[in-house]
C-alpha cells in the first residue's frame, strides 16, 4: 500500500476546492427531490454552516457540469446551466447612502448583477465549447454577433471575445464609481434582468443547438445582501421564468424579507420552493458521510467499496440505496474509525485507571448513606455496565444500598432485575454515569470515538465530520488509509476538534463574540448538570424556555435566531411535554460538536426548562450574574465545586 494519507481529509471547505467540484462531489441521496430537470420554479436552499450548501450549488454550476474532468456529458445538461454568484459583501455594503440617491444605488446593484451574470453566461458558453458535450465549438462563439446588445450600451462590442473583455472593464468602471461616486464618471447602468434576458435571447437565436438551454442563477450567501438588494433579488425571483431562473442559497433565518420592489411580495409554493438541506441530509447522514470519507480514499487509489463514478452520477442513486452496498460502506467506515460498544466501554474501565475513580465514587456514595457495605461488593467485572451506574444509584436518596446490591445479584444470576428489566436502569443511566468517571481535562473519553459517534457529533455537518476524521488520522503516524485509528486517538481528536470549533464561534458574524460567550455559558450549565452524582436527569443537552421574572426582549429573540442561523443551536418543536396543559414550545439543542469539550452527551435525550430570566442572563447577563446562575445550579444539583472541570469552571472561584 502506498504513501501516507494523513492530510487526505484536510480540505473540508468548498472554497478550497475551487469552482469545479466534479472530482470531489458526492451526489446526496435526496438529490432527486430537488427535481432539477423538470422544475421551473426558483429554489431557496437553506442550511447552516458546513452542511454542503455551497458545494451543492457549485456542483450545479456550469464549471462542474461542463467540467473538463467529465468524459461524457448528456445533451440534457444544457437544460440546466448553473450560474454561480457569491455576493461580495465587502463591496456591496459600500453601495448605500453617501449622498447618492437610493434609486441610483438600486440601478448600480442591478448593473453589477448584469455584468457578473453576463460574465457567467459567457463563461458557460466557453466551458461548453471546451467540454465533452460536443454541442458547441470555439468557432461558434467567434461567429456570434452580439451587436444588438448595443441597445443597452453603445460601447458594448459585438464579438464574443471583445464582450468578455468589455464586461471586465465595466466591473473596473463601476468599482471606481462606487469608490468615489461624486467624482468618478457615472457608468451607463445596464438593466439587470432585461440585459441578461436579451443576451440569452441573442445566443439562442444564433446558436440553435442551445434553443432548449435554461440558465439557473444560484446566488450564494443571500443573507449578506442589504435590504434593498434583497428586494431587487426577490423581484427577479418572483418574475423568474425559463430560460432564466433565479435561485438562492442561504443560512437559516436569513430569508427575512419577502418584499419585492413592486407591490407584491414573494409567496412560498407560488413563487418558489424551499429546500432545507440540513433536514434532508440528516435523513441518512451516516451513509452519506461514509461515502464522502471513502471517496477521498478512492481518489488516492485505495481499494474501497465505493466507485467515484457512481457517487457522482445522479442516475445511479438507486444503486446506492442497496442494503448490501450500504452495509459494506458503513462497515468500512467503522473499520477505519472503530468505536466501542457500551459493554466494551464498561469493560475497559476495569482495565484502566478509571476503575479507581469508580471505586472512589462508590465509597463516597456509601459514606453519605452511612452504609457499612464494602464498596467492592458493587464492582462486578462480569456485569460491567451495571457496575458503572452503581455510584449514581447509590447517590439517590430513594434507593438503598441493599436494593442496589440485591439487583446486582439478580442480574448476575440471570434473574429478572431492574437493571435490564422494566426500569431499564442501565439504558437510562449508562452514558451519564460513564462520562462522570472521566475527567474532561485529562484522559480522552472513548464515548466520543467511532464512526457512529463522529456521525452523531457532526449532526449533518460535513465539515465537522471531515475535521474529526482529519484530526484522528493526523495523529496516527504514517496512516495509509488501510488501518483502524485507535479509539483513544479518535477520542483525543474529537476533543481537539470540539475545542477548535467552539473557538471558531467567535468568527460567526457580527455577534460572534457574544455567540461564543453564550455557548460557553450554556455549555457550562449542561456540563454542571452532567456532573450530578445522582444522574437522576442525565444527558441534558437541550433547553426550552419557561416563564420567569424577566421576559425575553425582541433583541433576545433575534439573538436566539442568530444562534440558530450560525448553527450554534438547533431548534426543534418540543417533543416531550411533561405537562400537557402547557402550550407546545421550541427546544434549543446545543450543536453536538461541542459535546466533547463540555464533556456531555451528544444525544438529544433530556432537556432543562430554563426560566426566561435565566436565558436572559445567558444571553446578556453580566459576568457576576452568570456566576450566580451557575452557583445556583451547582447547589440545586448538589454538584461539589471539586467535581467541576477545572478548565471550564476555574474562573468561578470559590468565594
Amino acid at each position: 500500500m502506498g504513501t501516507t494519507l494523513q492530510g487526505v481529509f484536510a480540505k473540508n471547505r468548498a472554497e478550497e476546492l475551487g469552482r469545479d467540484v466534479w472530482e470531489q462531489f458526492v451526489v446526496p441521496h435526496f438529490y432527486s427531490k430537488l427535481d432539477l430537470t423538470t422544475a421551473r420554479k426558483p429554489r431557496i436552499i437553506i442550511g447552516g454552516r458546513g452542511c454542503g450548501k455551497t458545494m451543492l450549488v457549485r456542483y450545479l454550476s456550469y464549471e462542474t457540469m461542463f467540467s473538463s474532468l467529465r468524459h461524457s456529458i448528456p445533451v440534457e445538461a444544457i437544460k440546466h446551466i448553473g450560474l454561480y454568484w457569491r455576493i461580495d459583501t465587502h463591496f456591496m455594503n459600500l453601495m448605500a447612502g453617501r449622498g447618492i440617491e437610493d434609486w441610483k444605488w438600486h440601478s448600480a446593484f442591478a448593473h453589477i448583477a448584469a455584468i457578473e451574470l453576463a460574465r457567467e453566461i459567457m463563461g458557460s458558453l466557453r466551458a461548453m465549447s471546451e467540454s465533452a458535450l460536443r454541442l458547441l465549438v470555439k468557432d461558434d462563439l467567434e461567429r456570434l454577433d452580439l451587436s444588438r446588445l448595443k441597445a443597452f450600451d453603445k460601447k458594448l462590442p459585438h464579438t464574443f471575445a471583445a464582450l468578455v473583455d468589455r464586461l471586465e472593464t465595466l466591473i473596473w468602471e463601476i468599482q471606481s464609481w462606487v469608490n468615489d461616486p461624486l467624482k468618478a464618471p457615472e457608468p451607463r447602468f445596464l438593466s439587470g434582468r432585461d440585459f441578461l434576458g436579451a443576451l440569452i435571447k441573442e445566443i439562442k437565436r444564433q446558436l440553435p443547438q442551445l434553443s432548449e438551454a435554461n440558465f439557473f442563477v444560484y446566488i450564494d450567501e443571500y443573507e449578506n445582501l442589504s435590504k434593498y438588494q434583497k428586494k431587487i433579488v426577490n423581484t427577479w425571483l418572483k418574475h423568474s421564468e425559463t430560460p432564466l431562473i433565479f435561485n438562492l442559497a442561504m443560512k437559516r433565518h436569513a430569508f427575512d424579507t419577502q418584499e419585492t420592489i413592486g407591490p407584491e411580495s414573494l409567496q412560498n409554493i407560488h413563487d418558489y420552493r424551499f429546500y432545507d438541506l440540513e433536514a434532508e441530509i440528516k435523513e441518512d447522514f451516516s451513509l452519506f458521510a461514509a461515502e464522502i470519507l471513502l471517496l477521498q480514499l478512492a481518489l488516492q487509489g485505495r481499494t474501497v467499496p465505493v466507485d467515484p463514478a457512481v457517487l457522482r452520477d445522479p442516475e445511479r442513486l438507486s444503486e446506492r440505496a442497496n442494503p448490501e452496498y450500504r452495509a459494506s460502506v458503513i462497515n468500512r467506515a467503522e473499520f477505519l474509525f472503530p468505536g466501542l460498544s457500551q459493554t466494551e466501554m464498561a469493560k475497559e474501565v476495569f482495565a484502566s485507571k478509571v476503575e479507581e475513580n469508580l471505586r472512589s465514587r462508590i465509597k463516597q456514595a456509601l459514606a453519605i448513606k452511612r452504609s457499612p457495605i464494602d464498596a467492592e461488593c458493587f464492582i462486578r467485572r462480569n456485569v460491567p455496565e451495571a457496575s458503572i451506574i452503581t455510584p449514581a444509584l447509590l447517590s439517590r436518596r430513594t434507593l438503598s444500598a441493599e436494593y442496589v446490591l440485591d439487583q446486582l445479584d439478580k442480574l448476575e444470576s440471570g434473574l429478572p432485575n431492574d437493571f435490564t428489566g422494566k426500569k431499564d436502569l442501565i439504558h437510562n443511566n449508562f452514558v451519564g454515569s460513564y462520562l462522570l468517571l472521566f475527567e474532561a481535562h485529562s484522559r480522552p473519553c472513548p464515548y466520543y470515538a467511532g464512526f457512529s459517534s463522529f456521525s452523531q457529533l457532526s449532526r449533518g455537518n460535513l465539515r465537522h465530520f471531515l475535521e474529526l476524521c482529519h484530526q484522528s488520522t493526523n495523529r496516527v503516524e504514517d496512516w495509509k488509509g488501510d488501518s483502524s485509528v485507535p479509539h483513544f486517538t479518535q477520542a483525543e481528536a474529537a476533543r481537539a476538534a470540539s475545542t477548535a470549533f467552539l473557538r471558531e464561534i467567535q468568527s460567526c458574524g457580527p455577534y460572534g463574540l457574544q455567540l461564543h460567550a453564550f455557548a460557553l455559558r450554556l455549555g457550562s450549565v449542561f456540563a454542571m448538570s452532567q456532573r450530578r452524582p445522582t444522574q437522576s436527569e442525565p444527558e441534558i443537552t437541550h433547553f426550552s424556555i419557561g416563564d420567569g421574572a424577566v421576559q425575553l426582549q425582541p433583541s433576545d429573540l433575534d439573538f436566539l435566531r442568530e444562534t440558530v442561523k450560525w448553527s450554534v443551536l438547533y431548534e426543534e418543536k418540543e417533543t416531550k411535554q411533561k405537562d400537557p396543559s402547557e402550550p407546545s414550545d421550541t427546544e434549543y439543542i446545543l450543536d453536538p460538536i461541542y459535546a466533547p469539550y463540555f464533556h456531555i452527551s451528544y444525544s438529544k435525550r433530556r432537556r432543562v426548562k430554563l426560566k426566561s430570566d435565566e436565558v436572559v442572563v445567558l444571553i446578556r447577563g453580566t459576568y457576576d450574574q452568570v456566576r450566580e446562575l451557575l452557583k445556583k445550579y451547582s447547589s440545586k444539583w448538589r454538584v461539589e465545586p471539586r467535581e467541576l472541570t477545572p478548565t471550564l469552571f476555574s474562573h468561578l472561584g470559590t468565594e
Binding site: L94, R98, G123, I171, T499, S507, T622, H651
Partner: protein
C-alpha cells in the same frame, strides 16, 4: 518615492521634534493614548480630533463632516503646514484617509506619532478559557468597504491578498469566510520581531489554526511589528511580484505600525484595495508605555 524616517525613544522628551501646526488625534482609550494626546497637544498649535463612521462612510474632523472620499477637503487649508497624525488613538481608517488626503494634496511631508504599549491586557496566547470569554463582548461590525480603497473581489478576478496578523485570529477567520478567497492567493504577514520578545508566539499560536483550517498557501512573510517602513516594503515586494491583471488587496489586521505601512501603501497606490473589519477597541486594553515613535513621511 515615499520615504519613512523613523525615530524612537523610551521617553517622550527623548524625541527630536519641531512643533507642529496641526495635530490630528483620536479618542484615548488607555494610558498610552492619554499620554500621546497630551504630547500632541503640548507640541501642536492646533489640535483637532478625527473619527470615521464605518456605517455612514463619512469622516468627522473637528466637527466638520464629509464623505470619506472627500477627506482632502477638510485638510486642504493646511497644505504647506506641519501636520502630525496621532496614530495611537486614531483608528486605521482615519490614518488611511488622512494620509491619502495629504498625498492627494501633494504635501511634501507629514508626521505620525505612535506610542507602543508595555502590556496588552487582552493577550490570551494559547489560553483557551478565562473570565474574559464568559464576559460580554462587544459586537464586531465586520468587514465593510472603505471608500476609495475597495475592490470588487470575485473568484473570477486575478488577485492576491495579504493579511497583516495580530493576536486575534478571529479577524482573519471572518475575512476568509466572508470573502471566499482562493487559499493559494492569500499571504500572511507576521510582525516579527514583535514589540516584546515572545509576543510573536501569541500571534503564531492564535493564527495557525485559521491558516491551516483554510489551507492558506500564498506565502508567509515577516516584518517588524513596530516598523511601518518594513510593512510598506513587504507590500511593495508583493506588489512588484504581481502578474499582469493581478491586483493586490491588503488586510491590516496586525499592529498599528504595520497598519500605518499598509495605509501609506494603499494611499499611494490607488489600484490597491483594503479589507478591514473596523473593530471597536475596548477601554484599557493596554497598560503602561514601552516606547515612543515618530514617523516622518517624506513624499
Amino acid at each position: 518615492m515615499m520615504q519613512i524616517r523613523m525615530q524612537e525613544s523610551i521617553r517622550e522628551n527623548g524625541l527630536d521634534i519641531q512643533p507642529w501646526d496641526l495635530g490630528i488625534i483620536g479618542e484615548p482609550l488607555d494610558e498610552r493614548g492619554t499620554a500621546a494626546v497630551a504630547f500632541i497637544s503640548s507640541n501642536s498649535n492646533t489640535v483637532v480630533s478625527a473619527r470615521y463612521d464605518p456605517d455612514g462612510f463619512y469622516i468627522d474632523i473637528d466637527g466638520k463632516v464629509r464623505n470619506a472620499e472627500r477627506t482632502a477637503e477638510l485638510l486642504e487649508n493646511w497644505r504647506g503646514k506641519r501636520i502630525v497624525l496621532e496614530t495611537t488613538t486614531l483608528g486605521f481608517v482615519e490614518v488611511f484617509l488622512c494620509s491619502k488626503a495629504l498625498i492627494d494634496l501633494k504635501v511634501t511631508s507629514f508626521y505620525m506619532v505612535y506610542v507602543e504599549p508595555k502590556e496588552y491586557t487582552t493577550v490570551a496566547g494559547g489560553r483557551l478559557l478565562d473570565k474574559r470569554h464568559f464576559d460580554l463582548s462587544e459586537e464586531v461590525p465586520g468587514f465593510k468597504g472603505i471608500p476609495g480603497a475597495t475592490l470588487v473581489t470575485t473568484e473570477r478576478t486575478a488577485q492576491r491578498t495579504a493579511f497583516f496578523l495580530g493576536f486575534e485570529e478571529r479577524r482573519l477567520d471572518v475575512a476568509l469566510v466572508s470573502q471566499g478567497f482562493r487559499p493559494s492567493e492569500v499571504a500572511v504577514i507576521f510582525g516579527v520581531p514583535a514589540f516584546t520578545p515572545g509576543w510573536e508566539m501569541h500571534s503564531f499560536a492564535n493564527n495557525i489554526r485559521v491558516i491551516q483550517d483554510h489551507g492558506l498557501s500564498g506565502g508567509i512573510h515577516f516584518c517588524g511589528a513596530e516598523n511601518p517602513a518594513s510593512a510598506y516594503d513587504t507590500l511593495e515586494s508583493l506588489y512588484d511580484a504581481l502578474s499582469f491583471k493581478e491586483r493586490l488587496i491588503v488586510g491590516p489586521l496586525g499592529t498599528k505600525p504595520n497598519g500605518i505601512g499598509a495605509a501609506l501603501f494603499a494611499a499611494s497606490h490607488s489600484e490597491v484595495g483594503l479589507l478591514y473589519d473596523h473593530p471597536r477597541k475596548s477601554r484599557r486594553r493596554t497598560s503602561e508605555i514601552a516606547r515612543w515613535h515618530i514617523y516622518e513621511i517624506v513624499l
